[in-house]
């Protein structure tokens, strides 16, 4: 008996400890180190990632993206699409309030959606291009469309349709909507999301505090968020941001360079989080018949593009650049995107096949290719040297050209390049955005490649007004097959979002779309 007692006691204590480790604790604050600061966090004007990835912290949307990527209820507890696909009816929850305690009504929803779709205001209005009219009757919201738009449900869960308080916004100083937006934000805006902005020092720091009127419940049955406060500090330099975390001055640091992931995973005080993302790294190939200087472009030949893809050992690149955190692309879009179709990694390494394709194209004796890299980017430098070595046996002489980011953008837009790298992350939980960007000629000449495939273009146009989800899925499957075969890109890899978080913080998430979600974060110590 004397021996059993301590064991029992120990077991009980152990159980207690175990349960308390799983019980969520409320209160407290966390500090988060960012790579860049926000300017104006407004659903309509946010045009840089540091702004738009913060919008959902302040403004709630009618619908939300669930953790598994499905659309779940938000401020609207139910939504229904009419049989012809042209009317969406949403029901607002009852008792919704803004952070100042004022009631959130249909008028606020109409105001917010009308702002979001006004092409004279922000850059995202096109996402709501199909909307004809938004009306409210009590807690019933009706969105009428000019034509069926299968993306609209996802757009109602996208940051740019966050709900802003009409009365408070209109009271803000300024003559134009843009001036009002800035004044409204600067004064610490009235919000509908989990947090309220308490202070903001441009380029230095920002503080979010708990919105006491937020609607969503936590696991303990009380309203979210759990934390009382989230403090943001801006540390642009990667090495300094990590030092700040290691010194214990901050609780989390975002955008950890992949080269440091291994080291931080081994740190006993930290959790190295690799959040699944929609981010892809790819290299557009100029597919035009002639280059900008008028000379013949060998990359216009589909066989040459396929050959370069086969000659690229993606697994080696993934090891070199992402330190094994990435995975090969299986489609034009990341595997985390809705309607993704890609049974296997595209173009597995096969130098023999590459050689054969090149000789079929009549280029067995080799040719020159220019690779445009971002000056100062270690990743691009690594990619260039690796590709140069991989392609040299085929007689492909890879030359480098270093430019800065806007120059690269200009070259892409004017078709003045052979191959360069680009990154992309979806902003919308729907495949239309990435597919239009990478493949639809009329939007951006298929990400500047000049690739103009009639079948693909027709499918894309049809899929954008396709009310039947099954048919739309088929259209997307076909588009992804065409794109993979035609290879207007060098398919590289998908990468996660790498955030290092202190062991005492639980529940922080960076979503596949990049958004920072602190609504369910809590402090365990």
């Amino acid at each position: 008996m004397k021996r059993i007692l301590p064991i029992l006691l120990g077991a009980t204590l152990g159980l207690l400890a175990a349960t308390s480790a799983f019980a969520i604790e409320r209160g407290g604050a966390m500090t988060f180190a960012r790579y860049d600061g926000s300017t104006v966090i407004d659903p309509v004007y946010a045009d840089r990632n540091p702004d738009l990835w913060m919008v959902n912290g302040l403004y709630e949307t009618l619908l939300r993206n669930g953790p598994d990527g499905s659309i779940v209820p938000g401020l609207a507890e139910a939504h229904e699409v009419s049989a012809d696909g042209k009317t969406i009816t949403l029901t607002l929850r009852s008792g919704l309030k803004f952070s100042d305690g004022s009631e959130l009504t249909g008028a606020d929803v109409v105001f917010s959606l009308d702002r979001a779709r006004n092409p004279d205001l922000g850059p995202w209005a096109g996402l709501l291009g199909a909307v004809d009219k938004v009306t409210a009757d009590g807690n019933k919201i009706t969105v009428s469309l000019k034509n069926p738009d299968p993306t609209i449900i996802s757009i109602l869960a996208t940051f740019n349709t966050g709900i802003v308080p009409k009365a408070a916004f209109e009271k803000a100083a300024g003559a134009t909507d843009q001036e009002k937006a800035r004044a409204f934000f600067a004064a610490g805006p009235v919000t509908s999301g989990p947090f309220v902005m308490k202070s903001h020092v441009q380029g230095t720091s920002m503080t979010f505090v708990r919105n006491p009127h937020y609607w969503r419940q936590g696991e303990d049955g009380k309203p979210l968020p759990y934390l009382d406060q989230v403090e943001f500090v801006v540390i642009p330099d990667d090495a300094t941001r990590i030092l700040k975390l290691q010194a214990g001055e901050v609780d989390a640091a975002e955008f950890i360079p992949f080269a440091r992931v291994g080291e931080l995973s081994a740190d006993p005080n930290l959790k190295m989080e690799l959040f699944p993302s929609t981010r892809i790294v790819y290299a557009p190939i100029n597919t035009r018949e002639t280059k900008k200087d008028g000379s013949k472009n060998p990359l216009a030949d589909i066989k040459v593009r396929q050959a370069l893809n086969y000659a690229t050992d993606k697994n080696v690149l993934i090891k070199l650049v992402t330190f094994d955190t990435g995975k090969p692309m299986t489609s034009l879009m990341s595997a985390a995107t809705q309607l993704h179709y890609g049974p296997a990694p595209l173009y597995p390494y096969d130098p023999e096949k590459a050689k054969q394709l090149l000789s079929e194209a009549g280029l067995g004796s080799g040719f020159d290719v220019k690779f445009t890299t971002l000056a100062g980017s270690a990743d691009d430098a690594t990619l260039f040297t690796a590709l140069q070595q991989m392609w040299a046996p085929l007689g492909v002489n890879l030359k480098v050209e270093q430019v800065d980011n806007p120059t690269r953008g200009e070259k892409n837009r004017s078709g003045d390049f052979d191959i360069h790298t680009y990154g992309w992350a979806n902003d919308v939980n729907d495949p239309a955005q990435v597919t239009g960007w990478l493949g639809y000629y009329k939007q951006r000449q298929a990400v500047g490649t000049g690739w103009n495939n009639q079948e693909f273009n027709t499918l894309f146009e049809a899929s954008n007004v396709e009310p039947d989800p099954a048919k739309r899925k088929d259209e997307y499957k076909r588009m992804q097959e065409i794109y993979a075969a035609e290879a207007p890109l060098l398919f590289l890899f998908e990468t996660p979002f790498a955030v290092a978080v202190s062991k005492s913080i639980e529940g922080y998430v960076q979503t596949p779309l990049g958004a920072n979600d602190f609504s369910e974060a809590w402090r365990a110590d």
Binding site: Y45, R48, L243, N405, G409, R413, D427
Partner: protein, 313 residues
């Protein structure tokens, strides 16, 4: 002290400098490939959206029209709105400038206090082991890039020993003295290496000069020889060097502010260039031009006070 007419003449010289700076910077930023619309749309805008953005920013106007607008606005004290930060340029610069000036002054003070006494020590014992050691250490400081010194200081003194915070900026004067000591030190190490080398050389030269020998022969006290004859003469070229190093200091803060996450105009300039934020780049360049002109003017004034021969020309 220099005469009033001399000062006025020097001030008038600043006007054509500014005009040239305005023309150059206006053309230079527009010669860079890519424009604010491309940089701002994070590459996601369609071609039609880009045209809309360019139109909204007035970038579809002919260059001479854009230039006239720029000059007219600048003369009325309006530097336009930053495209990247969506706020008036004047407001942003006034907000960030004090930080950079504080950092620059802080590092100059540190540099002078570091280099001054050591230069005396080295010059008074030329080629001794002390001299060689001092020169050696500072030679290393001179050859290391500022960002590297910064990272070393951060890793050792801040992250490991935890004596100082890892980057950031304080809210009060004293807090800033504490927060900014590592960035100021990393800029100062470089500047002090230049000062040390120059001051040591001039001290050696002056200590050996005939008038110092004569002063010694007259039986003047070493203290008076030092302050009245040696120091004053040896400092002329060092002051020039300090004035000229303002350019270095500015580019130093550009890098240091990024490494240490300090919200000053140096880091802002870097961000503005990457965003092709024309109004902000123009505003910052004009600010730098004013700063450099003022520092050069001050240098001239101090020099002509130190060296009366300069006043006649």
């Amino acid at each position: 002290m220099p005469s009033l007419s001399y000062l006025v003449a020097r001030l008038l010289q600043i006007i054509p400098t500014f005009l040239l700076v305005m023309i150059f910077i206006f053309l230079l930023v527009r010669l860079l490939p890519g424009d604010p619309a491309i940089a701002m749309a994070e590459a996601k805008a369609t071609d039609a959206q880009l045209e809309q953005i360019r139109h909204n920013l007035g970038l579809d106007q002919p260059l001479p029209v854009q230039f006239l607008v720029f000059v007219k606005n600048t003369l009325t004290g309006d530097l336009g709105r930053s495209i990247m930060l969506k706020a008036p340029v004047t407001e942003i610069i006034l907000d960030r400038l004090p930080t950079t000036i504080f950092l620059a002054l802080y590092s100059i003070v540190l540099a002078v206090f570091l280099a001054g006494p050591l230069a005396f020590l080295a010059a008074s014992r030329v080629n001794s082991s002390v001299d060689v050691a001092i020169r050696g250490v500072f030679q290393v400081g001179l050859s290391m890039p500022v960002f590297y010194i910064g990272l070393l200081l951060l890793t050792v003194l801040a992250a490991q020993l935890r004596w100082f915070p890892v980057g950031g900026y304080g809210k009060t004067f004293l807090a800033n003295l504490y927060h900014l000591i590592l960035p100021a030190l990393s800029v100062a190490l470089y500047t002090s290496a230049i000062i040390l080398r120059n001051l040591r050389a001039s001290l050696i030269e002056v200590l050996d000069a005939d008038y110092v020998q004569f002063a010694r022969a007259k039986g003047l006290s070493p203290r008076i020889i030092m302050t009245r004859h040696v120091l004053r003469n040896a400092m002329v070229s060092t002051v020039t060097l300090l004035g000229l190093s303002i350019g270095n200091l500015m580019s130093g803060t550009l890098v240091t502010e990024t490494v240490f996450a300090i919200p000053g105009v140096g880091r802002l300039m870097l961000e503005a260039i990457f965003a092709r934020d024309y109004p902000l780049i123009q505003g910052l360049t004009l600010t730098f031009a004013v700063l450099v002109s003022v520092v050069f003017l001050l240098t001239d004034v101090v020099q002509s006070w130190l060296d009366p021969r300069l006043r006649q020309s």
